[in-house]
Symmetry: C3
Subunit: 247 residues, 3 copies
């Protein structure tokens, strides 16, 4: 059983955070809220998302897992105004999701969860450095790096206590340094890893410009990025595996 | 003789209502105003439009018919600001239309009316049900239906007194019910017909979101949609032939 | 040595005025400011631009010439908000330009000035007529002319003292007349020349809609268009060679 009402805005933000990585996903219907974990086909980018029951206008479930086509569900949510309510109700028998928006009813065929790619375990990593940065600074770095290269280095200088971004192109380079003063928070430690810009661009699309993003970084290690959605009632973690340094 | 001044906004709304169905049309220059009737090449969608002389700042004619290329005329009208005035003057000798917008003069070659597809007669139909609905509700129904199917059923439930829209896709369905309370008006009667979504999408483009649309519906019959343009000084009727039900 | 700080808005306006004609250009670093002259590959359109040192927040140079890829530099400037400051610093040794925007550093490889097309001399012409017209009127004329033709005639009627624009298509024509009252200024004289619309459309893109454009016109002669940028601290001159009249 699953019967919930949520604002279109919250639903869209939730779906967008996952759809930047995968086309289909499993949604775990837990008593405390929704949970989604997914990894892209190349096993490079992962997402772990929780949307608390308190993010909903009303939320009832006795558990279970459903498989959904994300772009289809995004299109439906996209028909509502941001503050309109979306009513979601699972028909256990037909395995369809009834979605109602102000009198309009959409019946969405679900996907067999067993046919969807296995969910990843996001490993616990003991990463040396941690910063908290505004979403808009990630956006600036990614946009600039994209002008010169298809990969990007993220690092923290332990001695001088700053976070940096580096992108080296054939002729042009991009470099961004954010000191403790430019950041919301910084826990220094030696960190430097190279990442595929394509993945970071996709993740960046889902990060609100005004979000406080907690970024955990290591030496040739994955980066983890944590941020809130739905006014703090939802948490998203992106994890991106590093590229092997070429030199 | 034809010499008229009209706001760019009114001219554009008028042209848009016809150009969603045809590329060229005849415009009847009547003493009481302009009249346009047109049918698409497949004889499925028809439009009947009247724009009263009182919709114009000034309007003079001694009658006649001109043939115009609609997209060309729309492009010209599109250069003016919404509240700018467009001066239209027919040169009988050269069969050209002089269009002046704030000092800018455009000379438009007219099309021989005899070379334009015959105008349709919009049949008088005695349709069982009639509703009055907001343009934005038609828009919602058409947008949602388009996500699952290429045809759409419109109907009225005589017993329970509601208007409904149905679209059935291969896996997903869309259903909208509008009761007497959701509608501006309802005259119940048994009605159910299936229509091509492509045509309804085109007509929907020309229906203002805030228009009150009077819709006449029957059992396996065409639908008629009536709405005002130009602050009530113009009337548009769309008629759409039903598709044969496949089952 | 070159070290300067300028608002993103001023930098962008400057670059746009040149990039409508060429992809690469030489920038002369003079004590009084920047100077750029360029001609398109077909030798039809020319631009002459000066941006005064006083248009900058700070400006220091000991002279020299640098060669730049305009679209690359525009992309970089495009990342800043309109009122953000852009810091430009030349590294003489590496022949690279360091561009800093709020902590973000971009290192742009310069182009060997000798590899860039020779700069044109904009000839001193004694043109018979001169008008001063708003940028938006040039925009209207060019947009309308583009609907019917690929060339455009600009002229001044000496006797009746008006500026006119003519475009003749296969079936439709466009004509604009601006009298002394419609213009900011007019020095009458006999003038009529035909121009390629493609070039004038490109130049039009760089002319602010609210600019006062001084236009010098002759009989089968190039047209010169002068306007200010950067709140009067920069001057742009476009010169466009006439097409040979076909009749």
């Amino acid at each position: 059983m699953f019967n919930a009402i949520v604002s279109a805005d919250t639903l869209r933000t939730t779906l967008d955070s996952v759809s930047v990585l995968v086309d289909e996903c499993k949604i775990h219907l837990e008593e405390e809220g929704l949970e989604i974990r997914a990894v892209d086909p190349a096993n490079v980018g992962m997402v772990d998302l929780e949307l608390s029951a308190s993010a909903f206008e009303s939320y009832e479930t006795d558990g279970g897992v459903i498989g959904v086509n994300l772009s289809r569900l995004e299109d439906i949510a996209g028909m509502a105004d941001a503050d309109q309510l979306v009513h979601l109700e699972l028909d256990e028998e037909t395995r369809k999701l009834h979605i109602a928006i102000d009198g309009l009813e959409y019946t969405l065929a679900l996907i067999d969860p067993d046919s969807i790619r296995q969910e990843p375990d996001l490993p616990d990593l003991d990463l040396a450095a941690e910063i908290v940065v505004e979403g808009r600074d990630i956006d600036r770095a990614v946009t600039a790096a994209d002008m010169v290269s298809d990969h990007i280095a993220l690092g923290v200088d332990d001695a001088d206590e700053y976070f940096y971004v580096d992108a080296e192109g054939d002729t042009d380079d991009v470099h961004l340094e954010l000191t403790r003063d430019d950041l919301i928070d910084l826990t220094a430690g030696t960190a430097h890893s190279l990442f595929s810009l394509d993945y970071l661009k996709d993740m960046n699309k889902a990060i609100p410009k005004d979000a406080e993003v907690r970024m955990e970084l290591g030496e040739e290690f994955p980066v983890k990025m944590h941020f809130d959605i739905a006014e703090g009632e939802g948490q998203v973690t992106f994890m991106l595996a590093p590229r092997i340094q070429s030199d």
